[in-house]
């Protein structure tokens, strides 16, 4: 248990009548890259601010290396933040920005200069010492903000959607760089994003947040392949959701009735009984579409739309009850056309029961 660096215990926070955080618990290991993933307003930024000390929880505790820091001032905690808008001091040069925390500690000038130079080298901005923040591009400001937060050697680095303002290409590049930096320094990162791809790409663990609570905390594989709830299944990798009444159960799978057709999903480590209403999630890439009458059994649907993006073809079909499903595959086109009647099927092991 010694490698737990940060613990949140039953944190609650209200703003007026709104409950922003509803009793969250989280333990973070030293050197871990943990991402809080959620849509805006889910409480992820508030959680980060509570860890930083910029906000005080109404109840619950924050433990940093086992020490209760819940009511400690932000300047007393060895935790630093990379702010969403970078929050670089506009009246200070890059050098002064990065050296700010060191100057507060009254470290001698030569050491500060050396440390700042090292930090700039780390974020590949050597030679930018004398620039003002207003003279930097978004990506460069981002790097300065990271260098400024890291120079203090924090126990935990908090990153509040640090790549949100960057364009797609730069974002991908920075994702890789951030991950590499984190591994090299062996630092604990708590990262906030609403971008599931970013979360899957970078994290050791993902905490999916919704309405002030964690829906699921797990590795990217767990969250993606075995979502606990339909919310997680939809939010992470936009899965298709279907529900129905359980008709049969065996060792591996559960059969249930969905729109008059018996479909199958993998069994899960949770009690289940005949007649129970269940919800399942299946990823779009796991959905097969076959032309009607080809002998395949499954749900009946009509192709409504095809779209191609990012090397993946998305085929949208409408079920008899009017709900839509998405099937995706690699490739540019398929022989199916809008208006075709198709049978929708999937392998039972690719369908996950959720909301149990």
């Amino acid at each position: 248990m010694n490698d737990i660096i940060l613990q949140l215990q039953q944190i609650e926070k209200r703003f007026g009548d709104t409950k922003v955080l509803d009793g969250i618990d989280l333990s973070i290991k030293q050197g871990e890259f943990i991402t809080m993933l959620g849509s805006s307003g889910c409480g992820k930024t508030t959680t980060l601010r509570i860890i930083a000390g910029l906000e005080t929880p109404d109840s619950g505790r924050v433990l940093l290396e086992g020490r209760d820091v819940t009511n400690e001032e932000p300047n007393k905690r060895n935790v630093n933040t990379v702010f969403q808008n970078y929050a670089l001091f506009p009246h200070m040069s890059v050098e002064s920005n990065i050296g700010y925390s060191l100057r507060l500690k009254h470290i001698d000038k030569a050491t500060i200069k050396k440390t700042v130079a090292e930090a700039l080298d780390m974020v590949q901005l050597s030679g930018y010492e004398k620039r003002m923040p207003g003279e930097l591009s978004g990506g460069q400001r981002q790097r300065v903000a990271i260098a400024r937060a890291l120079v203090n050697k924090p126990k935990v680095l908090l990153l509040d959607e640090p790549l949100g303002a960057l364009d797609l290409q730069l974002r991908h590049q920075m994702q890789t760089e951030l991950k590499r930096l984190q591994k090299r320094l062996g630092l604990t990162f708590i990262y906030i994003t609403h971008d599931q791809e970013e979360a899957l790409n970078m994290s050791d663990r993902i905490a999916v947040m919704r309405e002030g609570q964690f829906e699921q905390i797990g590795t990217p594989e767990q969250v993606y392949d075995m979502p606990l709830t339909s919310y997680v299944a939809r939010f992470v990798g936009s899965a298709n959701i279907l529900s129905g009444n359980v008709s049969a159960i065996d060792e591996q799978s559960v059969a249930f009735n969905c729109q008059g057709v018996t479909v199958f999903a993998a069994r899960r480590d949770a009690p289940i009984s005949i007649g129970q209403t269940v919800t399942m999630a299946v990823r779009s890439e796991k959905i097969n579409l076959t032309p009607q009458g080809a002998g395949e059994t499954g749900l009946h649907a009509v192709v409504t739309e095809k779209s191609f993006s990012g090397g993946v073809l998305h085929i949208i079909v409408t079920l008899d009850d009017g709900s839509e499903l998405v099937s995706s595959r690699h490739g540019i086109d398929s022989p199916l056309a809008a208006g075709d009647s198709v049978t929708v099927s999937w392998k039972p092991e690719n369908a996950v029961l959720v909301d149990l």
Binding site: A52, G53, N75, A87, F89, S137, A149, L170
Partner: protein, 301 residues
């Protein structure tokens, strides 16, 4: 590594664009130039010329060059007046900073609803003539007036204070008249302040005072300095406040100018005093520019 995102244009690069005029641009600013020439430069030149002329026996001036008006200012009486004016202006400005800076700073932190309410509260006094408001102070300050009565009722004093026609009364009147300008200019500066910068400072290890000094104060300094200019300069010349609340006990440059102009009819001497005052004021603005590191006075208004 490749940095493929292009840097934003540097401030001076952006500026060049703003100053590239064409013919139409000249036409649009022409009224401004005419107005400035007629109502700002004209009177200044007139005053400057006047200050080198001689006063006529009874009325008006004689068109003969002289430096006498300026050598007269070197009289200890007038030098002392200048000195007293500067001292009062410094004191007034210091007090307006003390009251106006926190006021303007915290006003910027209020919710939008309260901001506009506060703004209204600050504007309401301006709907009444400043002279009338000064007479209000006479009522408050006079012996056995509301202030005296209140102080005696609370047993803070046991006899009426002679508050009216004192130096303190003049200072109160000055601060009262000028504090809104300090509040407004600090507020306009603090309004633009990105509060997340203060959080960033705290996050990086600054205590509240250090965060204020290194971030908030630095970034609101232009507002504070323009507030200083807006209070220091008028407080050298607000003769009617010294007149009304100070009786004849407090004599400022403004009072001397008014006296020379209206009572002694010595226009050239009044002009010379005004020229010296203008020069002092210009020095102030120059220092402001040096301190605030601004190339133009846009931060001032």
């Amino acid at each position: 590594m490749k940095l493929d995102d292009t840097p934003v244009p540097l401030p001076w690069q952006r500026r060049e664009k703003r100053f590239s005029h064409n013919g139409k641009f000249i036409l649009t600013v022409l009224p401004l130039y005419i107005f400035t020439l007629a109502f700002v430069a004209g009177p200044l030149v007139y005053m400057f010329i006047l200050s080198f002329l001689q006063r006529a026996e009874v009325w008006g001036v004689i068109g003969k060059f002289t430096l006498k008006n300026y050598t007269d200012i070197l009289d200890p009486v007038y030098l002392k007046t200048f000195w007293e004016s500067i001292k009062l202006a410094v004191l007034t400005t210091a007090l307006t900073i003390l009251i106006g800076y926190p006021f303007g700073y915290f006003m910027a932190k209020l919710s939008a609803k309260w901001k506009s309410r506060m703004m209204l509260f600050l504007m309401i006094p301006f709907w009444t003539s400043s002279l009338i408001r000064l007479y209000g102070w006479i009522i408050i300050f006079r012996a056995n007036g509301p202030l005296d009565k209140a102080l005696m009722f609370l047993h803070i004093t046991d006899a009426p204070l002679k508050l009216l026609y004192t130096y303190a009364a003049v200072v109160v009147g000055m601060v009262y008249a000028l504090v809104p300008f300090m509040i407004f200019s600090v507020y306009s500066s603090a309004e633009k302040l990105d509060w997340s910068l203060i959080e960033a400072a705290r996050d990086l290890g600054a205590n509240p005072m250090q965060a204020f000094l290194t971030v908030s104060l630095k970034l609101t300094l232009p507002g504070l300095l323009s507030g200083v200019v807006l209070t220091f300069i008028p407080s050298m010349g607000l003769f009617f406040i010294a007149d009304i609340l100070g009786g004849n006990k407090v004599v400022l440059v403004g009072n001397v100018i008014q006296e020379q102009l209206m009572k002694a009819h010595n226009w050239p001497f009044a002009a010379a005093l005004a020229v010296v005052l203008t020069i002092l004021t210009s020095v102030m603005i120059y220092l402001y520019r040096r301190l605030a590191k601004v190339k133009d006075l846009e931060g001032l208004v």
